[in-house]
């Protein structure tokens, strides 16, 4: 590896550290937000999931290098996302048939 390439990598390392600090901050915010009474518990759930999605983006984007990956990986993940959305659609569909509010144990 050339000296220039090594210097470029040091720049990447600084970025990894910023992502790490953001993840720590995000975790603490998630915990803090869970104790805030928003009035509706659904808001607490939404806030926690939004923060989790943000943290997941940081891990996948920077630690897993998805923000600068090859097209084939994006294609593969797009394919996976379609199936994942299909799975969640099936879940919602199943809920329509599910005997609501019956589980007590």
């Amino acid at each position: 590896m050339t000296a220039q390439a090594q210097e470029d990598f040091r720049h990447h390392v600084r970025r990894y550290l910023y992502v790490f600090y953001a993840l720590i901050f995000g975790t603490l915010v998630t915990v803090g937000a869970s104790f805030i009474p928003f009035g509706n518990h659904a808001i607490n759930i939404a806030v926690a999931l939004v923060i989790a999605c943000g943290k997941a983006f940081l891990v996948a984007g920077f630690f897993m290098h998805l923000i600068s990956e090859r097209k084939m990986i994006y294609g593969l993940l797009a394919f996976t996302a379609c199936f994942f959305l299909g799975l969640m659609f099936l879940t919602v569909s199943a809920y329509a048939d599910f005997p609501r509010l019956t589980v007590t144990h």
């Binding site: 590896m1 990447h12 720590i24 607490n44 630690f63 996976t80 809920y95 589980v103």
Partner: protein, 260 residues
């Protein structure tokens, strides 16, 4: 026979083979955990109001374990970056930290499991319930001692946060003749614990699997650095991708199981 494209990228994909392989594997993992998350959603929305347990898990411990796993992610990526910068010594240090953090995570998770397996719900003959951690349960003795509390309504055991129940635990001596049913907080106890143990157990198996692979690359597998450094760096990258995925799953598990 040499395996092609272990170092150089294939001309058509622009990727070395192992990287395509690990991403295909991770795609299948997304579907595996996705199926379990969808089960969680169905169980949760199907539960009667007040019967989905809240406050059953220790938030400070869960938060600490989350921070442990996030820290292991940064040490993993730093280990790989060290190899890219030709600093093998730093790689060893960072991945030693990863291994220690992984073991810390598993130990803390084991403690949490132990806490649940020593926690009992006891149905009494007078219709009340006793709930708490067992102190003495000698089969020869005519009584059981737990550190816990009595409740008249079983529902009072579920949503501890909403009720802001004062957790005044005391040592309770319960005659065996009064006990109708005595059950641990294991996966069979209710749907919440079933999905909790399934999700966290599967995740813990991934952590253990990843630890074994990283341990190999840190120990005997690291000899490859002397003979084929680029291929070794690629191996570390691939194992790192798996480790980050394990971290990513926990990022969702933590709020879903501990906080909301």
């Amino acid at each position: 026979m040499d395996i092609p494209y272990t170092v150089q990228p294939r001309p058509d994909t622009g990727l070395y083979n192992a990287k395509v392989g690990i991403w295909l594997f991770l795609a299948s993992e997304v579907m595996l955990f996705g199926a379990l998350f969808s089960s969680y959603i169905l169980l949760r929305v199907g539960t009667q109001e007040g019967y989905w347990p809240r406050g059953w898990l220790n938030v400070p411990i869960g938060t600490f374990n989350t921070l442990v796993l996030i820290t292991s992610s940064i040490t993993t990526v730093m280990a790989w970056a060290s190899l890219k910068m030709n600093q093998f010594g730093r790689f060893k240090v960072f991945h030693a930290c990863t291994l220690l953090l992984a073991l810390t995570f598993v130990c803390i998770k084991s403690y949490e499991y132990h806490d649940k397996f020593t926690h009992y719900e006891i149905t009494l003959a007078d219709g009340r319930f006793a709930d708490g951690h067992v102190v003495a349960n000698d089969p020869k003795a005519d009584h059981v001692i737990i550190s816990g509390r009595y409740v008249a309504d079983r529902k009072d055991l579920y949503d501890l946060e909403a009720r802001k129940a004062p957790h005044h635990h005391e040592e309770l001596t319960i005659p065996r003749s009064q006990i109708v049913k005595m059950e641990r907080y294991g996966p069979w106890h209710n749907t919440y614990l079933a999905i909790y143990f399934t999700l966290t157990g599967l995740h813990a198996l991934h952590v253990i699997g990843g630890t074994i692979v990283i341990g190999f690359l840190w120990g005997p597998g690291s000899k490859m650095w002397e003979t084929d450094p680029e291929r070794f760096t690629n191996r570390v990258e691939v194992s790192g991708l798996f480790w980050h995925f394990v971290d990513l799953v926990w990022i969702f598990l933590f709020p879903v199981l501990y906080l909301i």
